[in-house]
Symmetry: C2
């Protein structure tokens, strides 16, 4: 193959990249990509479930105080915030996806407090589009991504700006579904896919060894974890519009 052909191929093959933590987002050209935000335990899982169940919009905020400020706006927002695994006093619910049932969220706007996820969203807002991924909407998300013919950047929200295994494993699940499309993969995408191959037979078991899983177990939210690892429970794809996450029209 001569150089011209080589260059041509490089220009036309879209990239499928994985950003392992929000701290690394500045290394990517988000404006050239569709960004998928991933925060498996539990923000993006709750967002997918809430949008699937008819929430009009979900507004992610970083701090409990920002969330509380929506109370003043008096427009009937549902407020979600927790500290140390407990719903903060005066709020409607915490971060458990079980709260996002049709009975509670249908037609409502939910303000969700999520430090890691909001940080990732904020740093990705210049992307061509920002959508939300979780195991719940895995295949629906991948089917939509397949049709876009754009560079894709999977952003793991991680834990306190560092790598975590559950978000990376989900990124690997997306790479696994899209890798037949001849995307150019970066090293994190290759690693994420390899880790997914190791864990996919029993993701729950695989993630038990993580430090984060241990931490969440101490918070008594094993049921939430099991819920977050269900594959293809939903089909809605939440998309960022201005400050709000709403259902993507396909």
């Amino acid at each position: 193959m001569n150089n011209e052909q080589d260059n041509h191929q490089h220009q036309t093959a879209p990239q499928l990249e994985v950003c392992l933590t929000p701290a690394l987002i500045p290394l990517y050209k988000v404006e050239n990509s569709i960004v998928v935000i991933i925060d498996i335990f539990r923000a993006t899982t709750s967002i997918c479930y809430g949008i699937e169940n008819g929430a009009e919009a979900i507004i992610p905020v970083a701090e409990v105080e920002e969330c509380a400020a929506y109370r003043e706006k008096g427009l009937g927002y549902l407020l979600a915030a927790e500290r140390n695994g407990e719903v903060v006093s005066g709020f409607d619910f915490g971060n458990s996806p079980f709260a996002y049932t049709p009975e509670k969220v249908n037609g409502k706007t939910v303000v969700l407090t999520t430090t890691n996820g909001t940080h990732a969203l904020h740093l990705s807002r210049k992307a061509k589009r920002v959508v939300i991924g979780s195991f719940l909407n895995l295949t629906a998300l991948c089917n939509w991504l397949r049709t876009q013919n754009e560079n894709i950047l999977l952003v793991c929200s991680g834990w306190k700006n560092n790598f975590n295994l559950e978000d990376t494993l989900f990124a690997g699940a997306v790479v696994d579904q899209l890798k037949d499309l001849q995307f150019k993969l970066d090293d994190p995408a290759i690693a994420a896919n390899d880790l997914f191959q190791l864990g996919k037979e029993d993701i729950t078991q695989y993630l038990k060894k993580t430090s984060h899983g241990e931490r969440l177990k101490k918070l008594g939210i094993e049921k939430d974890i099991a819920f977050c690892l269900q594959i293809d429970l939903t089909t809605a794809i939440p998309v960022l519009e201005e400050e709000k996450l709403v259902k993507l029209s396909i």
Copy 2:
């Protein structure tokens, strides 16, 4: 187990952590750890080989201009720098480990230009100790680390501040040798070890799929790559003293 025992155990089990890129070093308390700097292709491999072969010291610098400045000091430094895979004109050699033979480096001080590795070293200098790792000195390094009873942080120099597979795979090889010691592993350490398990039967083959391997291949340094993946060719452990890397006295 009651809380007191739980806390006690937490305090006494040292941590074995992997920092996947220099951009994430600020997330760690390097001052509480022995840091191992990893830059497999090719800086830390060349450093291990050079120190093994009798170099009195190796001084890592980030820029070719810094390296050239040592010429003015007139003390018989060997200067190593390359750009685009070629030795920079006027320098003694490039970054190929093959240059670091006993004939060339014995008794000499080498000034080595390495952007990624120098960045990682600079950010780690407050550590209890900073040592250099590569596949060449893997077992010697691990045997020494075993005796230290300290927290260990394996710092991958990565590629332009981002994750690369070869440095992570080596970190996984270290975790593999030390994991019987009941270290507390963080998620990156767990992931690195899992990737090493996938790749260990044929590391060369495993790394062929990486983007970085492709880039290095284009530079025509396949022989260097093969050299860098030799396990336990050397036993010297380079350690940082002031600005210089010298042989650790054991």
